[in-house]
């Protein structure tokens, strides 16, 4: 579904991605783990076109999207819940969701709204509340829900567990799993929370300093000694 090959991305002179190859197949949950500053968010954002890949190919459903403007990429059936959530603070929960659906067919709005409210009942209770006054966990739910409202085939999530209580983290992860199983939505998940993420994912990649150093099924990576030493020991 998504094929990334030899992608290099720069911030000025600094090379943040140094030739990334990656594949995400239809219906998979693929997770990317790595230390702070490894370039995970950069890769996720490069898929969306900001920053743009300086070289390499990003092929989504047979179409090279590496040079498309961001807003066109996002209309092809890709949605993201970005780092830092970036919900609209002055708009209500419902308006935020409406914004998520802005490129979708209006006839599905009510139905999709119902769907995300079933996934996140908490948001339904808070439908009229302003986004900026939601708690951190609620904001994260809203960011994911907003991404779902555009009926994407590929969902990109950047650290959905960041700053959340363990119980909410579990809830979010089981939600991701459900969305994937029930609706067959493909998910690309960037995570610090390696243990959870790898258990959930079909396959995973490990990134170090802008390079993919390891890949394999979630189970393989979980039992890999290097991965355990670098990302799992001590924490979980």
């Amino acid at each position: 579904m998504l094929n990334i090959s030899r992608v290099h991305t720069f911030y000025g002179h600094i090379e943040a991605l140094k030739g990334i190859d990656m594949e995400i197949k239809q219906g998979e949950i693929v997770t990317l783990i790595g230390a702070n500053g490894a370039g995970k968010s950069t890769l996720l954002m490069t898929i969306c076109g900001t920053p743009r890949a300086r070289s390499g190919r990003i092929v989504f459903e047979g179409k090279d999207i590496a040079q498309l403007p961001t807003y066109e990429i996002m209309r092809l059936g890709i949605a993201q819940s970005p780092e830092g959530r970036r919900i609209f603070p002055r708009m209500t929960v419902q308006e935020n969701l409406r914004m998520g659906a802005i490129t979708a067919d209006a006839q599905y709005f009510e139905q999709d709204l119902e769907r995300v409210f079933t996934i996140f009942p908490r948001l339904k209770e808070r439908a009229g509340q302003r986004g900026g006054t939601l708690s951190g966990g609620e904001q994260q739910m809203l960011a994911i829900a907003r991404a779902l409202m555009s009926r994407p085939r590929l969902l990109l999530l950047d650290e959905p567990s960041l700053g959340l209580a363990p119980i909410i983290v579990r809830q979010i992860f089981s939600t991701i799993k459900e969305i994937n199983r029930q609706q067959g939505m493909t998910v690309f998940l960037v995570e610090q929370n390696a243990n959870h993420a790898l258990k959930l994912a079909h396959r995973g990649y490990v990134m170090v300093n802008g390079v993919i150093t390891l890949s394999g099924t979630g189970q393989e990576l979980l039992s890999n000694a290097e991965v355990r030493a670098a990302y799992l020991e001590g924490g979980h």
Binding site: T50, E72, M74, R75, P82, R98, G128, R146
Partner: protein, 520 residues
């Protein structure tokens, strides 16, 4: 032990005593410094020995004002902020505005405030207008210090929830006020020509006010909804006015045929300007639009053959009643307005008609704005103002979205411009200076960005008030400045500032228009 020493120590200083001590000290210092430097001014007159003039009154004023300012500032440190706010505002109004008028030598005001004859007392403390301006700025700082302290006191002490609740309450009040005021204002506006007060002079003033209401609503789309700071809005107003002028003079088109063309051409200008500059953010956009406004004006001045240069274009066709002229003596076999309705001819008919035309145009602007706000494009404008990156990630094309706002705003300015041209019968570059853009922007900001009723109120206040006060000519600008200061003091977010969600829970797709903060 510590408790003992604390309670035995000197009592906490009383704010008044502290501030007074400080002020007395400042007064002595100012006196010592200014006595010789300001009090005596050497003067060398031709063929006479060097002499001096005394300026004791200036010294006394300085010895009073500077410590007074310090006194008020000191009080703010003890949470006594109100004196600083009031004193600062009064000082600012009293010193700054007339001072500026004096510096600019604005004829009437200048002479009034700054008499040339030193024996003639004038109302300003200092002889040199510039000194008054400087002291006025000082007063502004006192005011600002007071306001900042107030904000800190009220906002800093509150939790987020309390602040949210207070804001929500404010918003609710504004909203309710708007839903009452909106229809009321429209009703009053519609019947006023038929009331005993509705004489020609009032209706003339109201036409002017309504023109600015319309311009304010138009600019509100750009600034209030899309959040694009446009300092050159008057350019599109000018384009509309000159388009109608040319169409009328050269092609003989009447107002109604020209209106859509003028709107379209102004919108085209909006797109042409917007396309290259809308990538810029905030301040940069403001500067470029400011420049664009000036460019248009300079072209109007210099393109003699086409625009008539500084003299402008005259003999623009006056408005007609959908093809039927308002004329005393219509051409043979043709109708005129008064013959059609069997009335006696009166020049007032056209004025009244103009009045209703501008009301209709303004209401169309308002209606379109309200509708758009609930459509995807309107939502995109608002979202863009909050977070452009997030919008892009949702599939919104920021450039096109902003361009739409810009073009729409320009189109309404174009309509208003045509109206202006047909009303005046004459256009010249003088009518389209930067100050016009500034006034329109002030209306939007003072009204409460995005609030339709607020904008209307601000236009009435800022345009209507000076017109009504023309008899008090001397104090007119003083009141104008005072009103601006007051609004910013009392309602820093604008007269009626609130935001109503564009959607509510299920079933109701959109709110009924009464609560949409807009004139129905």
């Amino acid at each position: 032990m510590t408790d003992m020493t604390l309670s035995a120590g000197p009592k906490a200083p009383s704010p008044l005593v502290e501030a007074a001590k400080d002020a007395v000290f400042a007064a002595i210092l100012v006196f010592l410094l200014s006595w010789l430097m300001i009090g005596y001014q050497t003067q060398v007159l031709q063929g006479q020995p060097m002499s001096y003039v005394t300026r004791y009154s200036d010294v006394l004023w300085a010895v009073f004002l500077i410590p007074a300012g310090r006194f008020l500032m000191t009080l703010t440190r003890f949470d006594r902020t109100l004196p600083a706010v009031i004193g600062g505002a009064l000082g600012f109004i009293y010193l700054f505005i007339p001072g500026v008028l004096g510096v600019l030598e604005v004829p009437v005001y200048g002479e009034f405030f700054v008499t040339v004859d030193p024996l003639q007392p004038d109302i300003l403390p200092f002889e040199q207008p510039m000194v008054n301006v400087i002291f006025g700025i000082g007063a502004f700082f006192v005011l600002a210090a007071g306001l900042r302290a107030r904000r800190k006191k009220t906002v800093g002490a509150q939790t987020l929830e309390v602040r949210e609740a207070a804001e929500a309450r404010q918003a609710r009040i504004s909203k309710n006020l708007s839903s009452i005021l909106g229809p009321l204002l429209i009703a009053v506006a519609l019947i006023i020509p038929f009331t005993p007060w509705g004489d020609r002079k009032l209706v003339d003033t109201l036409i002017l006010v309504m023109t600015y209401v319309m311009l304010g609503w138009g600019l509100n789309i750009v600034v209030g909804l899309a959040g694009l700071l446009d300092l050159g809005y008057v350019a599109f107003y000018a384009v509309g006015a000159y388009t109608y002028a040319k169409l009328s003079i050269d092609l003989g088109l009447d107002f109604w045929a020209s209106l859509p063309i003028a709107g379209a051409i102004a919108a085209t200008f909006g797109v042409a300007l917007g396309f290259p500059v809308l990538r810029l953010r905030g301040d940069y956009l403001a500067i470029v639009t400011l420049g664009f406004g000036e460019i248009i004006r300079i072209i109007l001045i210099n393109w003699q053959i086409f625009t008539g240069g500084p003299n402008g274009l005259g003999n623009i066709a006056k408005i007609d009643f959908f093809g039927i002229p308002f004329e005393r003596n219509p051409k043979e076999g043709e109708l005129a307005f008064h013959t059609l309705f069997g009335l006696d001819f009166s020049p007032v008919h056209r004025i009244y008609f103009l009045y209703y035309v501008i009301i209709a145009l303004a209401l169309v602007t308002n209606f379109v704005t309200i509708r758009l706000r609930r459509m995807p494009i309107g939502r995109a404008w608002e979202a863009l103002r909050e977070d452009e990156t997030a919008c892009r990630a949702l599939g919104i094309n920021p450039t096109n979205t902003k361009l739409t706002a810009f073009a729409l705003g320009a189109m309404f300015a174009g309509f208003a411009g045509s109206f202006f041209a047909t009303r005046q019968g004459f256009v010249s570059p003088e009518s389209f200076t930067f100050i016009e853009s500034a006034v329109i922007l002030a209306i939007v900001v003072l009204g409460g960005m995005g609030s339709q009723v607020g904008v209307a109120l601000a236009a009435i206040l800022l345009i209507g008030l000076p017109e009504v006060l023309r008899e008090l000519s001397l104090y007119r600008m003083l009141v104008f400045g005072g009103v601006m200061v007051l609004i910013m003091l009392l309602r820093p977010k604008g007269l009626l500032s609130f935001r109503v969600p564009t959607i509510q829970l299920h079933g109701k797709k959109a709110l009924p228009p009464t609560t949409a903060g807009a004139v129905k």
